[in-house]
Point group: C2
Chain length 398, copies 2
Amino acid sequence: MKISRKAQLCNLSPMRKFHPYSVAAKQRGIRIYHLNIGQPDIPTPPAYFEAIRNFDQPVLAYEASPGMPEMIEAVRKYYGRIGISYSPNDILITTGGSEALQMLMLCILDEGSEIIVPEPFYPNYNTFVRSAGGAIRPLTTTPEEGYHYADRAKIEALINENTRAIMFTNPGNPTGAVLTHDEMRMLADVAREHGLFIIGDEVYREFIYADEPLASIGEFDDIADNAVIIDSVSKRFSACGARIGTIITRNKELQQQLLKFCQARLSVATLDQVASAALYGVDPDYFDVVRDEYRLRRDTCYNKLISIPGVVCAEPKGAFYIMAKLPVDSADAFQQWMLTDFEDNGETVMFAPGEGFYATPGMGVNEVRIAYVLQQADLERAMDLLAIGIERYNNRNN
Amino acid sequence: MKISRKAQLCNLSPMRKFHPYSVAAKQRGIRIYHLNIGQPDIPTPPAYFEAIRNFDQPVLAYEASPGMPEMIEAVRKYYGRIGISYSPNDILITTGGSEALQMLMLCILDEGSEIIVPEPFYPNYNTFVRSAGGAIRPLTTTPEEGYHYADRAKIEALINENTRAIMFTNPGNPTGAVLTHDEMRMLADVAREHGLFIIGDEVYREFIYADEPLASIGEFDDIADNAVIIDSVSKRFSACGARIGTIITRNKELQQQLLKFCQARLSVATLDQVASAALYGVDPDYFDVVRDEYRLRRDTCYNKLISIPGVVCAEPKGAFYIMAKLPVDSADAFQQWMLTDFEDNGETVMFAPGEGFYATPGMGVNEVRIAYVLQQADLERAMDLLAIGIERYNNRNN
């Protein structure tokens, strides 16, 4: 029995790579602070659970393939509030942002197609691109430059006849980098001039810590046919387990192609759509409270990091991740050692080693991604453990 | 902006093709009996809704990528009750049987790969196969032969160096055909001898109307590495809107490849897993009641059909569909006419025209699939409308 070539080109998740070591450490009684996975600890708004409790139909039936009309309308109104006008047909509801990405890649990539993505990037992009037969053409950035990627010359140098799209997460996962309005305008121009799709994964939209309002790739009317937004309730409402996302485009041809995949998988979970629609009715103050909390954590995390000698990182402007270069030979080896040989008062810390966030071999070897999704006190302790760990790791053979 | 070749090779759903005409007919005040979609009307067991109401965690978090352990255990125990022993690692929970099929095709098909599927088949198979770059190699059957496909010589004639798998729905959608134990043994032998995956889509397992117990492709220990089961709670528990399915295989290499796709999409909806696990705890009598109800409907539907002059169909042995050849020039033209030009006491009927269930061009033109998912009285009326419609359609120009 043969396994497909494209499956073999995919990887297991770098965030879950050290799971067996963490299980073993916990069995030895070690407490682990998890900075490796972007699972927020903020409570899901109660509106979600109330909506589900109030569901009173006797048959849990298929919903419409493009999405429950109430859910589409909730998303449409949300975009209206940030000044972007969509029609219901522009919005397809998906099983998380993940399914949105999977369907989109199947619609736009063939064997040999390329998609330009700044690296480091969200590692699952690689699986979605590979599974469609394509390859990521990485736009390499460095910690020394603050992972800045909005460079027209660098981007245009990567475009060739196989290029189908430019895709980025904004605010950025794993870097926390945020595009200015002018930078996004430039990216939009490049996409228009070269006839490429431009895909904005904007699931972290509310998590920005600067004063300038965040730009969305949906704002630029002259690239209505190029632009695709990937969105989700997972981070916005701390509802990762709902698996409700959306794919938004005004491109009629793409809508029609996506609809084939929506119909093939019949529908998205009914109750999760009912409840997610209710989430969009929460008081907008909710976002302010959450944003303030994450800003505090960002500050804690960043200040602790830059006080460690030899660390290179830029202050993240959004999302809830920070990418940093550590003064260690290998983040993989260091993480493993932290789980097998280290403890401080019975505690250690996990992060996501950086290599898996790059497509270019050899990049990111001594970088890590830290998700600041813990309460303030735990976050401080976790960052202190990282500092103690680095020092002891580098002196382990002395 | 380019659309992928593989997306262009996919089709919109034949079940939903006449949706615009049905909307127009309803606007004219026509009542439509829907025999076109397999949405059961049987109530979902209350255990589903109770489990969701009792969920009391404040954060709706990601579940484990392979599936919630309780859900995996529920599936494992269910298979144990039908005499098939699986370990937890053999079972991956998916977003419906649909995602199970999508992931499986991505894991086993490359550009140019073939998969043997008896036709007529569930049309969405085509999208999952095409999206992975492969093609369905149809094993053609006819209404005159009762859509019988378990023919070793015919199957072996279709196998070539590109063949990766044999896949079938058993009990069958759209035909209601059911394999005997000996027929399944033969298919298992062919798969083993030729080194092919053998994929049993067994989501209709409980819906059988003969006395012989149903065979499962999971029963044959000598093809443990070849066999893959696709399963779901959708039809079993009348919970289509839960979108909870499963992919089951003892093939370790395939498990590892599937896990990459499970990790890439992070997890399956948390509450739907909690509630679906509870469904597996319902009293087994539930299946007897449901089966008796569907057997009555099958009898009604079949008896009404064979009393129409010129209809060719075999008595379905399972699932809740019947495929039949009608005495009309074109099922597509007839369906359209039934929605635009026909009514009897303000009522008409919808079915799924047969052409979309075939891969071979020109096949199924005058066939239809009927889903017997209505209450007895409605089903009788719907079948009478079909009979009246056929007569008037064939005399429309007289």
